[in-house]
């Protein structure tokens, strides 16, 4: 065991942790989840829910695992009769006023109160003769609803707004059984990161209006992904129901986004479900675009590229394309005088004050750094000008690209507007969007992160990396640059 580590025993399992570690975190290492509500690794410790009571040998009474730091030789027991009885009593108190509305509660299925009551709560109430307290639902902010009846006053939301977002608009109002989460009378919960209180809430008290009544937790398929909202590269989970993305949730990554994502990223998923997609490869036959199969379309592109070899080529790409696609979109022009450029939509920067180096970045593109690393430039205007006289112009997933060219235009995209400039292309190839393919993005700090496929691509659409890979192979370049 390493020096400077503290050795203790939790439920009979020896663990060795750095000094200052909390018992609840050490227990996770021992494979023991101590039930808890107010404790969250991303928030300051409050110790108000009294749920994580455990027995510590030689301590006079039960200790809360979330506020007790480990000491050498400590012996922690989480499953003794005394500890279990204490936790059962806490659960009983929480359930006195908690409504039995799990069937209509959005949190059902991922509710910590449900989980722990099933795990160690008692099956019946002893308070049946008294009516439960009732408070009406409150509208907290643009995307947050507060259902006070379900609240267990863990204060995670209060601490998030106060210590992480540094905009203390929430508090605990009133006392005792009348207590509820109050909001400043003149304020709204409209901080750009306020949506995190919905994820932090262990019960269904804080709800997302966007997700309200949309799906049940057990119907969702979860896929690890990377947020495409900005260049921060927050790790997210895409929740899909029947192959439709219905929700975006943060995926903890202590190096990038800790436990949080901003509201921009949270709402930045509806485009993934667009119905008006290009579903088949289109090749030009005179004035018409004709739908065809991949073989013909790829042969056509390969013929165009062979005919123009050695001349100028311009690639206008989206900084939302995967690094794999971007690399192949460059390699396919081996032997050309190649220029590649991308443009980034800019927005307002919105930092999360309590977490260093975490913000909704002004650069609203996930892979600008990756594109730059691969040799694409930010000089979009110059590339557009160069496109006019280029022999071949490749547009990669940039539907609003104002491209004009006298050469051959090839468009790889997900959508095509009725009067989009790319409609003049000679070949249009349908590609998958970020939720439909696997790939990597490089965020602004140079961290390359992988995202996975959450749903199938529509029609014949294929990932851009596959399409460009086929072209590279057709051009005989597959082995060229090894």
């Amino acid at each position: 065991m390493a020096d400077g580590m503290i050795n203790l025993t939790i439920d009979g399992a020896p663990v060795s942790v750095p000094p200052g570690t909390l018992v609840i975190e050490a227990a996770k290492q021992a494979g023991v989840l101590v039930p808890h509500y107010c404790y969250h690794p991303g928030l300051p410790v409050a110790g108000v829910c009294r749920m994580c009571l455990v027995e510590v040998e030689k301590a006079p009474k039960l200790q809360i695992a979330c506020a007790t730091t480990v000491t050498e030789g400590m012996v922690v027991k989480t499953q003794t009769a005394q500890a279990k009885d204490a936790r059962q009593s806490v659960l009983e108190f929480l359930l006195i006023n908690h409504p039995l509305d799990c069937p209509i509660c959005d949190q059902a299925g991922e509710c910590e109160l449900q989980d722990f009551v099933f795990q160690e709560g008692q099956a019946r109430t002893r308070y049946a003769e008294f009516a439960k307290r009732f408070n009406p639902v409150e509208d907290f902010g643009p995307d947050v609803l507060y259902v006070p009846n379900r609240c267990i006053l863990c204060t995670r939301c209060v601490r998030f707004m106060e210590d992480v977002a540094k905009e203390p608009v929430l508090n605990v109002s009133e006392r005792g059984d009348r207590a509820f989460i109050g909001i400043h009378p003149e304020a709204r919960l409209d901080h750009p990161w306020a949506g995190n209180v919905v994820d932090l809430c262990p019960v269904g008290s804080l709800l997302s209006k966007d997700f309200l009544h949309k799906a049940r937790a057990w119907e969702l398929d979860k896929t690890a992904s990377i947020c495409t909202g900005c260049s921060q590269g927050c790790n997210i989970t895409l929740d899909t129901r029947d192959e439709v993305v219905v929700r975006v949730r943060p995926r903890p990554n202590l190096e990038v986004n800790r436990y949080f994502i901003c509201d921009h990223g949270r709402m930045h998923y509806k485009w993934m479900n667009r119905g008006d997609r290009i579903e088949a490869p289109l090749v030009r036959a005179g004035a018409e675009l004709k739908a065809t199969d991949w073989d013909e379309a790829l042969d056509r592109v390969a013929a165009i590229l062979r005919g123009a070899e050695g001349r100028t080529a311009v690639a206008l790409v989206s900084p939302g394309a995967s690094s794999e696609a971007l690399a192949l979109a460059k390699r396919v022009f081996t032997g050309f005088a190649w220029t590649g450029a991308f443009q980034v939509v800019m927005g307002e920067e919105a930092p999360l004050t309590g977490v260093p180096d975490l913000a909704l970045r002004a650069e609203r593109a996930p892979n600008a750094k990756g594109a730059e690393t691969l040799g694409y430039t930010r000089d979009y205007a110059q590339a557009l000008a160069a496109a006019k006289s280029a022999a071949v112009v490749l547009v990669l997933d940039d539907p609003d690209c104002a491209v004009e060219t006298n050469g051959t235009l090839i468009y790889l995209g997900t959508v095509l507007g009725v009067d989009a400039p790319c409609r003049r292309a000679d070949v249009i190839l349908p590609i998958a969007n970020v939720a439909e393919e696997e790939g990597t993005f490089t965020n602004r700090d140079g961290r390359t992160q992988r995202y996975y496929q959450a749903k199938p691509a529509p029609g014949m659409a294929q990932p851009a990396a596959w399409v460009l890979g086929q072209l590279v192979a057709a051009m005989g370049l597959a082995e060229a640059q090894r």
Partner: protein
Amino acid sequence: MPIGVKVMKRPIKQTSYLRATLKGMALTFSHLLRPKVTMQYPEEKSSKDWTLSSRWRGTHRMLTDEQGRAKCVACGLCPQICPANCIKLVPGEDEEGNRYPLIYEIDEFRCIFCGYCQEVCPEEAIHVGVHYENSEYSRDRFVYDLERLTAQTHPVSTLWDPSDPKGE
């Protein structure tokens, strides 16, 4: 004489059919005097000796509240538990913002009438019914929507014997 046929000589007592006929007719006439068990379906659907069990699981019925609206809150448990995957539910909200099904359809052809939907329903809204006459002129009429389910009037199944709930 090519083949010799031996003719048996039996006493008349054995060869007469009269005795057997009378015996048979006696049984027949004795049935005339016994109580009738035939039910004149469809004029008659139950008798004092036989009725459909209250535990019979037939086509569904959705119960309604005092305002005549379906009791369903679109919790999603019945499509989840359904082993035949015959329930289609799209949750949404009603005018007052309460959780309510936008679409609730049961495909009675796919249904295996296990009664799990009734057992799992926290609102006692969906029930299997004591009902067995389901003829229709087209197959698509067997997909019951919410309106059709609430309009059913047949009694609902008790699923278990009320006097012996544990089945002992």
